[in-house]
Symmetry: D2
């Protein structure tokens, strides 16, 4: 059986990463393994920034945002020289397996590294919910609640001034933050990759709101979708009469103490990652699908496609 296991976080940080680190290390020790921490993701692997840790290392971190293991991006981590160095460093410590916590890029790095004889297990953690082998990623729920709180605040001022606010949220290549966040906030219009009405429809909708229903409007937009948000706002103003303002929520969406749901998901997936090792599986991506813990070969996980938010789009168009 696997005896020595290292853990790292990589890519954009997400609330709940610390809860996942805690779960992995405690579950490993519970199963008699020696546990190691790698700092700054794949960079620390290549630079041999690896230490053995005990269970007190992860005391009092459960409720903290960010990642105590820190994160970094290392674009070179696909070149053979880097991958080999990383694998050699792990082997020099006698480490059999590596658990990586992160998003899409982290998964690819783990998959590449697995070719060099390291058993890699991946845990999904990103606010963007853009990993196709799991229904939900660690950090998504906290980010949704951060968006809800920000939009609830913006509603106060938007409504007092009878404006239209266009609010940009993150999401990377998926619209989940916009679709789920927009549903949770009851905004008037959501624009995402999965649901993007043309300009005439947008204008008609906002005009209708202005004339018939209310004197303010909230629009939630996925990042990297509308080419120029300020131009977009100007057009809205001209065509609807709404004084329109753009708000970019930015990186505060990445932070904060994780919600109950993210802490529990992190606990479950951390324990699951160790269970997968105990069962003797290799190179797996763990996740949660239909409310059940799953594990898929990393290679296959990277090829999966999930269709997100379809049912939600029906809910959204029914309620507005």
């Amino acid at each position: 059986m696997v005896k020595k296991v290292a853990v790292l976080t990589s890519g954009g940080d997400a609330p709940g990463m610390n809860a996942a680190i805690r779960a992995v290390i405690r579950a490993g020790i519970h199963n008699g393994m020696k546990m190691y921490s790698v700092f700054e993701g794949y960079k620390g692997l290549v630079e041999d920034d690896i230490i053995e840790v005990d269970r007190t290392f992860v005391s009092e971190i459960l409720m903290r945002g960010g990642t105590i293991l820190r994160s970094a991006r290392l674009p070179e981590f696909k070149e053979p020289a880097y991958l080999k160095k990383a694998a050699d460093n792990l082997k020099s410590h006698g480490i059999d397996a590596l658990i990586v916590i992160g998003g899409d890029g982290t998964y690819r790095g783990a998959n590449d590294l697995s070719k060099y004889g390291i058993n890699c297990i991946a845990i999904p953690a990103t606010i963007d919910n853009d990993i196709d082998s799991t229904d939900y990623t660690i950090g998504f729920d906290t980010c949704l609640n951060t968006i809800v709180q920000a939009v609830d605040r913006l509603r106060d001022t938007t409504s007092s001034h009878q404006r239209c606010s266009i609010i940009e949220v993150m999401g990377n290549k998926k619209g989940d933050l916009a679709l789920y966040g927009g549903t949770a906030c009851g905004v008037d219009l959501i624009l995402s990759r999965e649901y993007y009405p043309d300009m005439n429809e947008i204008v008609a909708k906002l005009r209708h709101i202005r004339m018939n229903r209310a004197r303010h409007a909230l629009v939630l937009v996925s990042e990297n979708l509308v080419p120029d948000l300020n131009e977009f706002a100007k057009t809205i103003t001209e065509k609807t009469g709404f004084a329109t303002r753009v708000e970019v929520l930015g990186r505060l969406q990445r932070g904060g103490s994780p919600t109950a749901t993210d802490r529990i998901l992190a606990a479950r997936l951390g324990v699951q990652a160790i269970d997968v090792l105990v069962k003797g599986l290799e190179n797996q991506a763990v996740g949660i699908v239909n409310n059940k813990l799953v594990s898929n070969p990393l290679e296959e996980a990277l090829k999966m496609k999930k269709s997100s938010g379809i049912e939600l789009i029906n809910v959204i168009s029914t309620l507005k």
Copy 2:
């Protein structure tokens, strides 16, 4: 098809009830139905406190805790005279169907009423997560986060004074609030119906914590479980040396603006309740099982048994 539909909330209130009321009324209107509100639950039904409402009736309520339809308990609402009066009142308005939002007792009332010719659809909303025909109820996620925030606060003072805090949470007949809440908070010990070690084991565990690991301890306990919490605390103090304090979180667990998860669940289940009517089904309990919307005959739903938290107990014992 159903033309006129009434909606009410009943039993203990839960965050997200307003979001569910909004979804039901908007989805009904979207489907061409006339929508009615009943105030104070079954009491308002018997007293004919019923009005027709439009979509502006539910503006700006999505983010508010409690229920704008108010709630009340009416223990007599199982006697034929009351049930018949309620059904007659609905019929006098020409109302074909009733959507009830609440917990176990609410479901029973709806089932009884259905015998008097009213098509009743039940939506699960209770902080206790104790409805067996759904994995999650509206309000559970908000309550978990309220518990997490309260316990995070209590940890500050418990740790500063190196005490043991015994914290009572709600949950009615289920331990879900204790099990999920305890996992989310990383408490040292959870006592619930589903997981209740004997006193020797409890003492051994707390002694071990005091001697070896830390100088404070957090214990989460389901309500109505330990006969006398103050006596229990005294025993802990005597046998472990910990200065021990009891905290009862109380009804603040019922309030607050709903989380993103509860708002989205409310939107989905509200739309689903109307869909069920559109499809011509009768006397159904809607819910979410394995992350999919479901609908079961009300009669059957009341007989279901779900085993809650089993997997979580494994996670809990692994991490502690």
Copy 3:
């Protein structure tokens, strides 16, 4: 004595405006006055959007952000025709006095209007704390806490990625939000009108942090201060080696349920405004100076100069 009193909110909205409206209306009724609401600030005054209200009009608004009276800007409200129309409308209702709740521009409007025979009392409410006749304005404390929460979130991700984050806060012509907010957050550097080191000093400081003390840095900057924040960030990156990101907190700083301090200040100032009328004073600006309620002639209030944050700058330079 004054018998009929109107109230309005004007300019940028601030949390606690509703609490102030509630206090004014309840205190007026308590003193036997008839109370009127004006909608959309001076615009509503000119358009005669004025109604009599009772104490239930302000039920359940204490905890809500924004302003139920709405706000609007009317740049023409200094031209005699507009001022006369406003005064005439008030007189046509028999209204003797007007209480305005807002910032600097609101005060000027009130002062201008007072020349047309309307007794105007001004209550300071703006997140920017830029009214010189009061130590604190309603909304400032809530905004500070919003900034604290946002920066606490940004610290998570800034620290995980070992970056430098440059965070822009509001404040209009005063640096109070940056100075108080920066002190509360313990940021590494504050740039405001009152405290603005030159570029060499900034670079030296951040370099020192990067080399000696920590691997991340937080900088808080007042709005409208640095000509181009993105250029500024680029310079920081080049000269210090820190990966630097700009975050603009934006209008969410205006929203949210008011803090205890803002609610209490709003209650005190609302009661004070009515007291001033009961005492027979005219054209006053109420405020709080050295923790005592004060009242100054509006004309004089507009000429006052307070030196803000001097003592705080000493605290800041001692702690960093």
Copy 4:
């Protein structure tokens, strides 16, 4: 000049104590002093649990509730043997001065210790705001906001069920938490040492609310005031018809990340305590009076009497 300074926290913990510790230690180092931490208050002084610390010791603690120096009660710390041992321990480290952070009991301990040749400076930190030599104590503002959030939650359920909720808050021997908290929450009735109507008046008021104004009521009560709250609630139910529930907020009032106001007050008072030492003063209590930093001889500070909340009682009776 003073060269070596120790700091401790004592008594009940309060949010902002960590911010005060940070300010004291950083301001001391800034002034060229060697700084020492004492753990567990006066107990650690007697047991010589004292270490020298540097500025990184207080990194990342500003935003955390509780106290990293921990706290403990030592009732014997007035007996000469204990006081002498404490003074001897400090002298053995060459420590010239001690800064204590806490409440009333902490001040008394410092005053007693000063007789044994230790220069003691006291910083007021307690949620109860019951130190007479300062207008505000560190922790009071955070606690008020915790109460506001809890009462806002309880309002949801109280209103949904049309009940009367009697909510007990802390405050020790002062009614400030009830008076300020009640004003901030707009409750219907406040009972405190400073304002306690007789039972007939209470009943008349609640009856009036039930009959005329609203269908729910919120009552805020100081701890240790009403002999038996459950009996009290029963009487209310019998005499007013309100279903009445008792809620005890408990120790969660002690925890939580400090508010902006408490963090800033802690920064100012921490710097002030060191300034007092730099100026060569001895045995002082620092504080804030009329928004200005003050310093009084400890002996005199203990004899001061402030009349709290008088003006607030006028505000409260005007608004209700």
